[in-house]
């Protein structure tokens, strides 16, 4: 366990030290995954079907705030959907506008969840996100995850009906109907949305309880409750397919949450701050380093039992001295009692 903590400290120290590079690099990896996901799955518009476009956009988005990056990603996706018809792109844009009107008005800094959610859905581990949201933020933040899930559900439905949409070239109303159907009539998606929101609320309240291991209990409860809701819902909907995937996804998500807990619990990720200011006498160039991290080499393990034994021995000697008896006699009695 000590080794794990040492590794954790090393990783956190590394991230803190090279934050200037690590942050854009991680943003680039996330955005590139999302762009390539769109490129390889729904690139229906031949004019922008060039691999350089998603790569260049990923680099650009790595340098932008994630909220703005998610807007650019949304526009790129809409442009790709335009290949299937203006109606499909229009419905997708309406969905994006809905997201921004209802959600980003309140939490502009959680754009990451909106991008991360479809990516996690695509990889097959979306069940970790509602739990992590409940652990890290307030339940309202799960709306970002929910909207990401809606967008993923919509794109998945469009991909499944792509041939039909391309065939019905002249029927605008049919296309519009098929596009809206992917949102409204997708009962399984609504089931997952309900399960995700309920999970975030449960995890949020359990991790705030003043009990031992509240984070661990919150993770396990969240994953189990989520699994049960989706499982029962699937059976009620008469769609038992994908249960094995659901089980595996839940187990992997649980492990991801435990790894997240290991890094995030009881750790204040304050940044190293580089600030400049001046007073009447000096110019100051200050590097403020947060105190939260213990240097790896200076870690000392103190065994509390030793202290307790020594303290008990001291007490025995004091008692023996006070009552003028042999301390060994007291020790013998203790052995008998044990």
């Amino acid at each position: 366990m000590d080794n794990l903590f040492e590794i954790k400290t090393r990783i956190v120290t590394f991230v803190e030290k090279y934050e200037t590079y690590v942050k854009p690099a991680s943003r680039f990896v996330l955005m590139l995954t999302a762009y390539l996901m769109v490129y390889f799955n729904i690139s229906y518009y031949s004019k922008i079907n060039v691999i350089f476009i998603p790569i260049i956009l990923s680099v650009a988005c790595a340098l932008l705030p994630l909220s703005l990056g998610s807007v650019v990603l949304g526009l790129y996706t809409a442009a790709n959907l335009y290949g299937l018809g203006i109606e499909i792109a229009g419905v997708f844009l309406a969905l994006l506008i809905l997201t921004y009107l209802l959600y980003f008005r309140f939490t502009r800094d959680k754009g990451m969840l909106l991008v991360l959610s479809p990516v996690a859905n695509f990889i097959g581990v979306p069940y970790a996100l509602p739990v992590i949201t409940g652990l890290q933020y307030q339940p309202a933040s799960s709306v970002g995850v929910l909207m990401g899930t809606v967008i993923f559900g919509f794109l998945k439905g469009i991909k499944a009906n792509a041939d039909l949409l391309l065939a019905s070239e002249d029927l605008k109303t049919t296309k519009l109907h098929i596009a809206v159907e992917q949102i409204i009539a997708n009962k399984e998606m609504w089931l997952i949305l309900g399960a995700f929101f309920f999970t975030s609320v449960i995890v949020y309240f359990i991790r705030r309880l003043a009990i031992k291991n509240s984070w661990r209990i919150a993770i396990v409860s969240g994953i189990v409750v989520q699994l049960l809701i989706i499982l029962i819902g699937k059976l009620l909907l008469g769609n038992p397919y994908g249960i094995v995937g659901l089980m595996i996804g839940s187990i992997v998500s649980g492990l991801i949450c435990l790894i997240f807990r290991f890094f995030a619990f009881d750790l204040d990720y304050q940044r190293i701050e580089h600030v400049q200011f001046e007073d009447e006498n000096y110019y100051y160039y200050v590097k403020a380093v947060p105190k939260v991290l213990i240097p790896v080499k200076d870690v000392k393990v103190k065994t509390f039992n030793e202290t307790k034994v020594k303290r008990e021995e001291g007490i025995e000697e004091e008692i023996a001295k006070e009552f003028d008896i042999d301390p060994k006699h007291l020790k013998n009695n203790k052995d008998i009692n044990e």
């Binding site: 309406a94 008005r105 009539a185 100051y284």
Partner: protein
């Protein structure tokens, strides 16, 4: 000689300014009631557009049923349903807007008070 305590105080103030940017000061310029009213007005516009989009989706999906009902049942009943739905949605959405903006204002004013206190201490150094 550099005064360490003064440097600490100045560092804290600069970190606050750089991390939070102009936003807390912008919010601090408003009276509470004005800030909440502004958010409610924007909320009203955003909520109306969102309801229109949601209704549009619903109408497209139920297109056939809707056309059939428009022909058979009286038009007023459908309009009444739409208005009631809009009213319920707006009440819920504006309540969320009110609670969020009230919380945001309270939190920002609290952090601004600490900032101003530290700033005053620096001025009287």
């Amino acid at each position: 000689m550099v005064n360490e305590n003064k440097v600490r105080l100045m560092t804290k103030l600069t970190v606050f300014e750089e991390n939070k940017g102009r936003r807390p000061f912008d919010i601090g310029d408003y009276y509470k009631s004005d800030f909440i009213s502004k958010n409610l007005i924007f909320g009203f516009i955003a909520g109306t557009i969102a309801y229109a989009i949601g209704f549009g989706f619903w109408a497209v999906y139920n297109e056939e049923v809707l056309v059939e009902k428009l022909l058979t049942i009286d038009f007023g009943r459908i309009v009444f349903g739409v208005i009631v739905g809009y009213a319920v949605f707006m009440v819920l959405y504006l309540t969320v807007c009110y609670l969020v903006s009230e919380y945001k204002y309270r939190k920002t004013i609290k952090s601004l008070k600490s900032y101003k206190k530290a700033l005053k201490k620096l001025e009287n150094w």
